[in-house]
């Protein structure tokens, strides 16, 4: 556990000394604020529900920027050889990296607390659904990041990692559209696997254990896949 902490610590230092971290958090906050302003003008209720929907999509474009460096750059610069010849397990490295990206994401989430603060000043929002929405945002954000980390483990090139994870995320996010196709079991499976279909209930204040389990298993699955991917250097 201490080793995970050391890897995490280095990751956070690096994310905050490179401009990528600041720029991504700042740009994300800017775009969210723009949507908040649009929604506040047209939506008569003191509720975060539509903004959560927007945030889940803007985040989808930014999460790959948080993770694109993480393993790809280690491979390119050769620091991979430091990590994987030190007395660390592959699991410790992957977990430390994942938690590092998650920490940067948390900063952007905390920055978005200005919106409910505004709502509280100018209206009387119900904080139950807002808390549930934030839980949903953390979970779906965790899914984005783990996909990004996984794709970053497959390449040496940050740009490839960014585009690749964005593409995969867009597909997984919009799998829900499959439900509009003629009904059969495969379509329902695809729709179930969609990231977006599990998100809406949270924004309405409904925390369904099934949705939580879905997201947590999604994260666990891709963490496992990432560990296998970095392990594959051993068998190639």
């Amino acid at each position: 556990m201490k080793k995970v902490f050391y890897v995490w610590q280095r990751e956070v230092i690096s994310l905050f000394t490179s401009p990528v971290g600041y720029v991504a958090v700042a740009a994300l906050t800017l775009i969210n604020s723009f949507f908040f302003w649009l929604i506040a003008k047209s939506w008569p209720f003191a509720s975060m529900q539509p903004l959560f929907g927007n945030m889940s999509i803007t985040l989808l474009f930014f999460a790959p920027a948080f993770t694109m460096r993480q393993l790809a750059e280690e491979k390119r610069s050769g620091t991979m050889e430091l990590l994987f010849t030190a007395p660390l397990t592959d699991v410790q490295v992957v977990l430390g990296k994942y938690l590092g990206a998650f920490t940067l994401f948390l900063f952007s989430v905390v920055a978005s607390w200005i919106y409910p603060a505004f709502l509280a000043i100018y209206g009387s929002p119900d904080f139950g659904p807002i808390a549930a929405g934030y839980l949903g945002l953390l979970l779906i954000g965790g899914c984005y990041l783990v996909v990004g980390l996984f794709v970053s483990s497959l390449t040496k090139n940050q740009i490839v990692a960014f585009i690749g994870s964005l593409g995969i995320l867009l597909v997984i996010f919009f799998l829900e559209a499959a439900i509009q196709l003629p009904d059969n079991w495969m379509m329902s499976v695809l729709a179930y696997l969609s990231l977006s279909s599990h998100f809406m209930p949270f924004t309405k204040g409904l925390i369904d254990l099934g949705d939580v389990v879905f997201y947590v298993s999604f994260i666990a699955f891709f963490l496992f896949a990432t560990v296998r991917s970095v392990e594959s250097r051993k068998w190639r």
Partner: protein, 362 residues
């Protein structure tokens, strides 16, 4: 300290190393010598547990690199071919990180990092960003990283690559001082480095060890013929003829462009029939002035080139750069004889060029 039995590693269809076996005693300094693509890096990655061998066994300090990988890693300091540096960290921050992931106890991290910065000449650089350092300092940080947990075994992949001559000498000095307390494996394609730093050498080619031993033994192995360099005054053609008749002399060559009346000659002879006294007597008796006489053994470079030539033809044809091209003579130049110089056959003795050149002189 290190035992390797029949390890192999393949990339696709190509064997990077094949059925490699060797062992390294505690306190040894072993040099892997070989052209690019010989398999040096691959072997080192197996020893450092970056990846396991596809076949065979490797043990470090009694622990298997696959079964007890974490125990092996604790005992090894590794400097990869490209120093594994995070350019966005400071030197001190980076070394602290390296110490912590290498199990240096928290209370000792600060002390160890300062010690190792002193040893590698980094005291004044401690708050610099690694990305702003010169190549020489980056290499020192790489070495410091490998030393920070005071490992019994050091594995250094081309530690002097890309450094300027002064830096190369510094790094060699550092390695020599480290060899007091550590077992070291280093790889290089620079020949003089091996004989300066290493107690023993393994020559790799195409994923196999083609020769190993101390630098002296390797040289002795092919030292069937010795050379004698002479400088004399007087007519060259007469001298060459005279000397070729001395018993024990296999052949005589004149070196091109001798200055003025001084002529330079090289004799080949078998070590068991040392003709030096006879040569001196014959020259003096015939009225020549003997200005200088010195013997020259076979250099490690001769051994290296011959072994590579004989192994390259046999095994995988193609896929390898020509040996001469990838062989870089040491920048300090000690010991380096002109590359590719072949020992002449005995039948070349006193051949055409000698006579012709001598006529021009006369």
């Amino acid at each position: 300290m290190i035992e390797v039995e029949g390890i192999s590693k393949r990339y696709g269809d190509l064997y990077a190393i094949r059925d490699l076996s060797f062992s390294v005693e505690k306190g040894d300094v072993v040099g892997f010598l070989g052209p690019n693509g010989a398999g040096k890096t691959t072997t080192m990655r197996i020893l450092t547990c970056f990846f396991p061998p596809a076949e065979g066994k490797a043990r470090v300090a009694g622990y298997d690199v696959f079964d007890d990988s974490l125990e092996v890693r604790r005992r090894i300091g590794y400097l990869p071919e490209n120093p594994p540096l995070y350019s966005d960290m400071t030197v001190r921050g980076y070394l602290r990180f390296a110490a912590k992931i290498r199990d240096v106890p928290s209370r000792q991290v600060t002390k160890r990092v300062s010690e190792v910065m002193g040893r590698c000449g980094l005291e004044k650089m401690d708050e610099r960003l690694i990305g702003h350092l010169s190549k020489g300092y980056r290499q020192r940080v790489g070495l410091a990283q490998a030393l920070v947990h005071d490992p019994p075994v050091l594995i250094l992949d081309e530690p002097t690559r890309g450094l300027d001559p002064a830096q190369i000498i510094e790094v060699r000095e550092l390695m020599r001082s480290l060899s007091q307390e550590h077992t070291i494996i280093l790889s290089t394609h620079i020949l003089p480095e091996v004989s300066q730093v290493c107690k023993s050498v393994a020559i790799l080619s195409n994923g196999r060890i083609v020769a190993s031993g101390t630098p002296e033994n390797l040289q002795a192995g092919v030292e069937a013929v010795c050379h004698l360099d002479l400088q004399i005054s007087g007519s060259m053609s007469g001298a060459a003829e005279l000397l070729s008749k001395v018993s024990g002399v296999l052949s005589v060559r004149t070196d091109p462009a001798p200055e003025g009346a001084v002529a330079a000659l090289t004799l080949d002879y078998l070590p068991e029939e040392d003709p030096r006294q006879e040569v001196a007597r014959a020259l003096v008796n015939a009225g020549f002035g003997l200005l200088e006489m010195s013997t020259r053994g076979v250099s490690l470079e001769d051994v290296y080139l011959r072994l590579l030539k004989s192994s390259a033809g046999r095994e995988w044809a193609g896929g390898e750069p020509p040996i001469e091209e990838s062989l870089q003579s040491g920048s300090t130049g000690e010991e380096a004889v002109s590359g590719g110089e072949e020992l002449p056959e005995a039948d070349e003795a006193v051949s055409g060029p000698v006579a012709r050149e001598a006529e021009v002189k006369a």
